[in-house]
Symmetry: C2
Subunit: 549 residues, 2 copies
């Protein structure tokens, strides 16, 4: 069996100008990055945004992730390929992969098997440099803060809250002590966790980007007043650093479907989906836009709707929930080592997780739902049949997808069902109104989506509710909790009952325009495993990258 990189490298890619041509774009709409990658120019993006939305927006989400793997990105790619194969004009809209995890456990994030976006080596490494630009903008601001203090300039800092970032899994940088201009503890986050990344993905245009950057809080004065990026005159230079990156990237799938990859904020402390600019652009370039939200539907889809859609006015037309037999058996209590064995009982139990997400999407967001079963080799016919009839009994439908093994033709059934369903008129809604209080917003999310019986606050969070009452008014809340459970306890699989959402800390992401509710320990700088993936990566005598996964 070929590895993902071998499949990707064996593919014959079309010139990116041809891919653009299928979207009605010409070479003058592109800023080329070699033969197979391009950015859409800012003027093309601006011009497209004056046109009406043309596409149906399909939100790809999933059950709660498990170690068994679900395959949301592969399904997004597979569905897009299948829609194009079926004669529709479809475009995938995805996040860019983060560089750090490529050398760690996770590897790249360009799909897998015969459902990949390519050129995978470029996309997984530096791609068009967007994340480096975001790191530079973030770190220029940090340098300006410490430089301001060093020179004894006008602002009197009592506390610096702005952290540096790097697109690397570097555990040692989580907590560092800086010794100059004065000693204080700070640290680095991975770039995808920077507020600059969240802003980059929510800004409507360059002016909005500048405006959002300017209002970020970087620390507090000795008089207890917040200090903003604008107080350091940082937003102009930061925008200059981000200007080119802000243009969406066009690549292709293995089957030549167009894909826009742009931005990639964390899905815990941020909202976890590709840039608004890319989505808005995509909606003017195709009839179907398939986009993905991070983690499971409790985090990713909720934030997609309640943060990204709320801020922008976008609404998805329908949602596809990805599940696998293996992952549902895991939710049903089976351990990873035993997932290849048929287990109808466990599947039957674990299906509850899927049902909860299907219900959530329909009841709380008013969205039509299809279930995509990402098929694995060891899935038995009995398992698939059991799941199929269950999903149908809930009033939805299940579509077996084999895009990993067969590309677009493996997901044709899903594609036809999506095309049918997307034509229905949906009435998507937000989960809560802007004017609710912060605790009420959290209750709405926790009770209706997570099935929690209550929300509690630490003493710190209680205090922050007071401090933030004014500044957070009208803003959506971004829950940072484990992705592995509907609760905030990673060990509680399937559909836990009677649990409580405990909010440890609240943080205002003023530039991004949301309040982060931190529930549990959230890691904003990953580490590398004992045997890093980097050990296997090399460049061969023909200049070809090997060992990337």
């Amino acid at each position: 069996m070929l590895s993902d990189i071998e499949i990707a490298q064996a593919a014959t890619l079309s010139p990116i100008t041809d891919i653009a041509g299928r979207l009605g774009l010409s070479v003058s709409d592109l800023h080329l990055h070699g033969q197979h990658m391009a950015k859409l120019t800012q003027s093309t993006v601006n011009q497209l945004h004056t046109q009406p939305v043309r596409a149906k927006l399909i939100l790809m989400t999933a059950i709660n992730p498990t170690p068994a793997g679900e395959g949301k990105t592969t399904t997004t790619v597979g569905l897009t390929d299948a829609l194009n194969l079926a004669g529709y004009k479809a475009l995938a809209c995805l996040r860019e992969p983060s560089l750090g995890p490529v050398f760690g456990m996770k590897g790249g994030a360009t799909g897998g098997g015969y459902a990949q976006v390519v050129p995978m080596e470029n996309i997984n490494l530096h791609f068009t440099g967007d994340f480096h630009a975001i790191s530079a903008a973030n770190n220029l601001l940090a340098a300006l803060v410490d430089n301001h203090i060093y020179h004894g300039n006008a602002l009197q800092f009592d506390q610096v809250s702005w952290r540096r970032c790097m697109d690397m899994n570097d555990r040692a940088l989580r907590r560092i002590t800086i010794n100059q201009p004065y000693a204080y503890d700070t640290g680095f986050d991975i770039t995808v966790a920077s507020e600059v990344m969240a802003i980059f993905c929510l800004a409507t245009d360059l002016a909005d980007l500048t405006h959002r950057l300017s209002r970020m809080q970087v620390g507090q004065s000795t008089k207890g007043q917040p200090i903003f990026a604008s107080d350091l005159h940082a937003e102009g230079a930061m925008t200059a650093l981000l200007k080119d990156a802000f243009q969406p990237n066009l690549v292709q799938t293995l089957e030549g479907s167009p894909a826009l990859l742009h931005g990639g904020p964390f899905a815990n402390i941020a909202h976890g989906c590709n840039s608004l600019v890319a989505t808005q652009t995509a909606l003017r370039l195709a009839d179907y836009v398939v986009t993905e939200a991070g983690f499971g539907a409790d985090l990713g889809a909720e934030k997609f709707i309640d943060i990204k859609c709320r801020q922008s006015g976008l609404r998805p037309d329908m949602t596809v929930i990805v599940a696998t037999v293996r992952a549902l058996k895991y939710h049903g209590g089976v351990e990873v080592a035993d997932l290849n064995t048929e287990n109808l009982q466990a599947l039957s139990t674990g299906m509850a997780n899927l049902k909860k997400h299907v219900d959530n999407m329909r009841q709380h967001f008013g969205l039509p739902v299809l279930v995509a079963l990402n098929h694995f080799t060891h899935d038995t016919e009995a398992e698939v049949a059991l799941l199929q009839s269950a999903v149908e009994s809930w009033g939805s439908s299940l579509h077996v997808c084999r895009h990993w093994a067969h590309g677009g033709k493996g997901a044709l059934d899903l594609a036809h069902a999506v095309a049918r369903m997307a034509q229905q008129t949906a009435s998507p809604t937000l989960l809560y109104q802007d004017d609710l209080s912060l605790p009420d917003k959290l209750h709405a999310i926790a009770r209706s989506l997570y099935g929690a019986k209550d929300v509690t606050f630490s003493a710190q969070a209680e205090q922050q509710l007071g401090t933030l009452a004014e500044t957070s008014r009208g803003l959506p809340v971004c829950v940072a909790k484990t992705q592995y459970s509907l609760s905030c306890d990673a060990k509680l699989r399937n559909v836990p009952e009677g649990h409580t959402l405990h909010v440890r800390e609240l943080r205002l992401s003023r530039g991004a325009g949301f309040v982060v509710a931190i529930c549990g320990d959230i890691m904003t700088m990953p580490g590398l495993p004992k045997q890093p993936a980097s050990h296997r990566i090399s460049v061969d005598a023909n200049g070809r990258i090997c060992g990337l996964s």
Copy 2:
């Protein structure tokens, strides 16, 4: 008067494919980065390197720099434009600018006036991402080191010497304390000071790059043994991160002359000139290659010859030394505020600095020399005449250049003289033989080039002479001293006499293949000034960058 960025933005650029066409290259030889920047593909580079050298290599160097400014980059651009204007095929070979100083005091590094490489905003900001790739490779290695210790893997570190880097002027990162896996003091250097950058610029090809990366020392074991990057299996993944960056970048001057910009190591702790790959490529693409070495001839030209040429077998055909009336008056004792006033006496005194460099190039390197006088508005006819007759009395010739104001046609006199002189057969030599001891190499440099009466060593350096005796055998020495003086005391202008070169510390750059002799305080992470240049930078309503200089 227009600013540099206004001149650059008003220019009409040719498609980079046209610029490549003038070098006999087609679009298939290019990895495009938009319309005006491209990398030459690795296969094109490999193919060119099998061809014989075609061009004369002209080394652009200068007197000791002063706050008055000399204009080495503008003169490199102006001479290249003038040679092309005169009907020769000429190509400039330059370093890429570092991002950090763009927000600090120095600003960008793309020339000035009507002698610039463009697009200046892109080149000065992220360009094609090379420096970000170098930062990532450097920092992956750092993460692997600390991760190895964290997991208690096989190597027992007693001391970690590998530092992180960032392409930002961030004073606060000079010295940081890491708290995990165990507390130790380390810090960040600016990316141009990373050994990865030096290696990137000296490697002959990708295999040599990997080999050099593998032999870098990252620390010392508890048994006192050196630990190398190869012990962490880092070189493969680092090469994968550097692979695309390793391809030279093609841009153009304001007049459409081709220019290769590639790499940019510090000129103190490293050798300070563009990549060997770019120079070797350029020599197959034109009849005249004009390249620049960092700082004055005592540092830049010496290292160009004794490090880059020694390792590669390259030899320049001649050298051009850039001087200004203002800078020579400064060497003659005039303060910055008074440089606009005619002062023949001070000029006459300060000319000694120029004469020393002219003599050095001829006597110690066997190179023909021309002097380029970069003309400034306030230079008087009497001053120019005085300098001209002095230079002629030394058996050289002086050429007044007005490329800053007039572009290539302002440097035609220099171009004709260069074309004549480069046809003569020179017998360039290295300053010292490989098999001299380290102290003897330092004596050769200090006595003959700097005019020092002696070389002394700190106790630490004395001890290091012993430790490094074996491992440094046959390697050239890279002197890290102030650029402002022929001595190691920045305050001693002109031609100081009776001074001593004091070596404080020796460091083996094992991957780069040289020993750094640190004389005085060398800053490897700059800071920002009280009013950073970033304050003035912004993006206007048309998406155009303003305020960059």
